[in-house]
């Protein structure tokens, strides 16, 4: 199947584009989100919440390309066999792209890794998310914006979950930029309109050295959601 814009073979179906045109389409979409929602000002000091996965690595790369200077902030929750691997990828990426990286861990901050915390608790994502957001906000103070790799799939999932729970407060946070609030660093989501598959394709085509793996607690989260409903 050929690209809609040239005679090259398509690498992506919706939209049907070749490598070169897909990269251009993706970058334009991210730039449009940044411009339309005024995510970034020229003078902003931006830190990117990174995991070493495809989404945050993509936004780290693109914000450096578009904005110039960015820094990376990572949280090591202590998920054996998963986070240690993605952090190796992140360290390598930051070294290659000359980006300052700071890592804080659950173990140093709270005395326990996530793996140990979950021996007594059932819901992995609630525990992990709460502690991770706390550390990200704490260590992003002093910066104007914190960028996260939330994509269209993440946001759609959050909207559906919060609609079913009738949680209007969280529902209103599903936006490309959060409101200014005392004690909280403003969050921006430049991948807001990019699907998970588009982000993965971009990361692959740009040859980012990352693992396409899932968090081992994903299935436990789905089990919890099924039990509740």
């Amino acid at each position: 199947m050929n690209c809609l814009k040239c005679d090259e073979n398509a690498v992506f179906l919706e939209p049907t584009l070749c490598k070169e045109h897909f990269i251009s389409y993706f970058e334009k979409k991210v730039k449009k989100t940044i411009k339309d929602f005024k995510l970034v000002k020229k003078t902003d000091r931006i830190i990117v919440a990174c995991s070493g996965g495809k989404d945050s690595t993509t936004i780290l790369y693109l914000l450096k390309k578009i904005h110039g200077t960015v820094e990376a902030l990572a949280i090591d929750e202590g998920i054996k066999g998963y986070r240690n691997k993605t952090l190796v990828d992140l360290k390598r990426f930051c070294e290659e792209n000359k980006i300052k990286l700071t890592i804080y861990s659950f173990k140093e901050s709270f005395g326990k890794t996530l793996d140990l915390m979950l021996k007594k608790e059932k819901n992995p994502c609630t525990i992990c998310g709460t502690f991770r957001r706390y550390l990200l906000n704490k260590h992003a103070r002093g910066y104007d914006k914190i960028a996260t790799g939330h994509n269209l799939d993440d946001e759609s999932q959050a909207i559906i979950m919060n609609l079913t729970k009738a949680n209007t407060e969280l529902l209103l946070r599903s936006v490309p930029i959060t409101e200014k609030k005392k004690g909280f660093v403003q969050r921006i989501k430049p991948l807001y309109f990019c699907s998970e598959k588009e982000v993965a394709a971009y990361a692959l085509l740009k040859k980012f050295s990352i693992h396409f793996t899932e968090c081992p607690y994903v299935n436990k989260r789905i089990e919890m959601m099924c039990e509740k409903n």
């Binding site: 398509a10 998963y82 598959k197 692959l204 396409f212 899932e214 968090c215 607690y217 989260r221």
Partner: protein, 67 residues
């Protein structure tokens, strides 16, 4: 007989299949949703409409990171 080797990154496993046909049919056989994976043939990203041969080196990457 040459048998296709398929690497599935999500499970970090390499499987062998006697397959020749369109990539989306391979995904059906493997019970995979085309929306949640990328298909790489001989180190190049391809769409699920592409033809695969037994001699191809195929990788299937999960796009869901959940992290």
């Amino acid at each position: 007989m040459i048998i296709m080797e398929i690497f599935i990154e999500k499970t970090n496993k390499r499987i062998k299949k006697n397959f020749s046909g369109i990539a989306k049919d391979l995904l059906k056989i493997l019970k995979m949703n085309s929306e949640s994976v990328l298909i790489v043939r001989n180190d190049e990203l391809i769409t699920e409409e592409e033809q695969l041969k037994n001699t191809d080196d195929v990788k299937i990457l999960s796009v869901i990171s959940g992290g």
